[in-house]
Subunit: 308 residues, 2 copies
């Protein structure tokens, strides 16, 4: 068995690593800024791949923000790389490097990585949610990654939980992301401050600043995280009824807010689950892999696809 | 390959059929009332199985209303058979008949049957929804039935779409079933009539009566179906984002209401899908198997399980 190349496309950084067989630590690893003047992202990526290329490569796996079509390997659009509009990423990589290449979105692959190497090891049915600027999902069912017919499954932040709710980053109304993401927490506080609400916070504070204020006893800050946690509990209750997993893994920056988020989240989850059996033995865990989840997920995807 | 026994447990009728290998038409088939004075449902069921027993039986498959645990074969409770409380149905059948026995809920197995024998033939990712008194779901992903860790997955009627919505049959608030089931249609009309709304309908009309009045131009009747269809569109849009299927199959009595339900449903679905790619080639179909779906699903389950 030869090497696998894993690529993690981020809005600010591109990371590429070469993994040897059955090894979770990369053989070679490089990281550069995604964007540079007068250079296309794809060219920067291929140069980085050349720099780590170990000779015998069986496959390439790529993690990218979406929306993207994992079946055809086309990135339909992605907010931080404007030049990629219906961009056939895997076809271009296969043409350039001559090895099978597989693509999926960052949340799906973080979920896959947590299942293979992280908090979800040993589980067969995993619900992974990343809660940061937005909300993304990755789902393992019976030891298989949920991808869907067009490769667009598990968009778990973009599901209506309140028909007349606030507008989401995607432009639609009432999605889970519009209630429980970092952006939603920030907007709630900014709106309340603009309406004259008293708080130690001012202007348009970041989710992190809001968390700090809440830790120091700021009522509005606590409320903003409690609201996010409550809706996250509703969303996860829905996903228990839909997927019935044995573990729920929460990743992303907002998931690191501790009891501020987790206490209202868990109370809401218990309140909204419609049969207690779903909670029998259910593990609720934090993601373990941090920044490496994208690379490890891309590596795991490539290995899975060439084995199957 | 020997025979398979399929059992369809309904609130009013028990049906049992023996199928020979690779044959969709039953070899023998019997139907009786589920309940009789001074007789337990389980005893009536075993007598019926004896009556069709063909000698060489490889497995038994059972379709039952839930909630039930398909992994352990335990019916936790079911509204129309009060004596079954945490009833180990498959264990009791295996003890009595000595062959492997498998259980799943009626909606999951109707979905499985539609995929194998009905509207979903040839698809790999199928979303089946039955819309009648309640709403149930059955989901095939990558040619496998979604069952979940506790065998409780795909409870697709019991998912919150509007946090402060009406109370569902299960006692929780804002579920899809509380908006789009036959019961929800009936309740909406009864409430509006009680509030003095003008209509050709009176009292507490059935979903069927309401459909007839709507066909004859009754405004309240049309509105009740339009509301059910709108929320059904929201629910299905959510399920496209979650599962990304290639076909949506609607079964159950309410799904036979024609344009009254389907026009507002399809308009709402298009309105709430957050990327048009989900609709590329998406088939929306009516269930084909009618009353036989339960038996055929139980038969398909038994065949799948002994083959795998």
């Amino acid at each position: 068995m030869g090497h696998v190349i894993a690529i993690d496309v981020g809005g600010t950084h591109l990371r590429v690593a070469a993994y040897s067989s059955n090894n979770q630590a990369p053989f070679k690893h490089q990281r550069i800024k995604t964007h540079a003047p007068n250079e296309e992202v794809f060219e920067r990526m291929t140069a980085l791949i050349d720099a780590v290329w170990p000779g015998d490569v069986d496959a390439i796996g790529v993690s990218s923000p979406g929306p993207l079509d994992s079946r055809t390997g086309v990135v339909m659009s992605t907010p931080n790389i404007k030049e990629w509009k219906n961009f056939p990423l895997t076809a271009n990589l296969m043409k350039r490097f001559g090895v099978p290449t597989f693509l999926d979105n960052d949340a799906n692959l973080a979920g896959l990585a947590e299942w293979e190497f992280g908090a979800g090891r040993g589980h067969h049915d995993v619900l992974y949610l990343t809660v940061s600027t937005g909300i993304g999902g990755g789902v393992i069912l019976g030891d298989r990654l949920l991808q869907g017919h067009h490769g667009l499954a598990a968009e778990l932040g973009h599901v209506i939980v309140a028909v007349d709710g606030p507008v989401c980053g995607c432009g639609f109304r009432g999605h889970l992301e519009a209630f429980s993401s970092g952006t939603a927490i920030e907007r709630h506080v900014a709106e309340q401050l603009a309406a004259g609400r008293k708080s130690t916070l001012t202007g348009k504070p970041s989710a992190r600043k809001i968390a700090e204020a809440a830790e120091d006893g700021d009522e509005l800050g606590r409320e903003a995280y409690a609201r996010a946690g409550e809706y996250l509990g509703i969303g996860v209750a829905n996903y228990l009824h839909i997927f019935d997993p044995s573990i729920v893994i929460l990743g992303g920056g907002v998931s690191k807010s501790g009891p501020l988020l987790f206490e209202p989240f868990e109370a809401s989850l218990r309140k909204h689950v419609f049969h207690p059996r779903y909670l029998d033995g259910l593990v609720i865990a934090q993601a373990e892999l941090g920044d490496d989840a994208g690379l490890l997920g891309a590596m795991a995807l490539a290995r899975l696809k060439i084995q199957s």
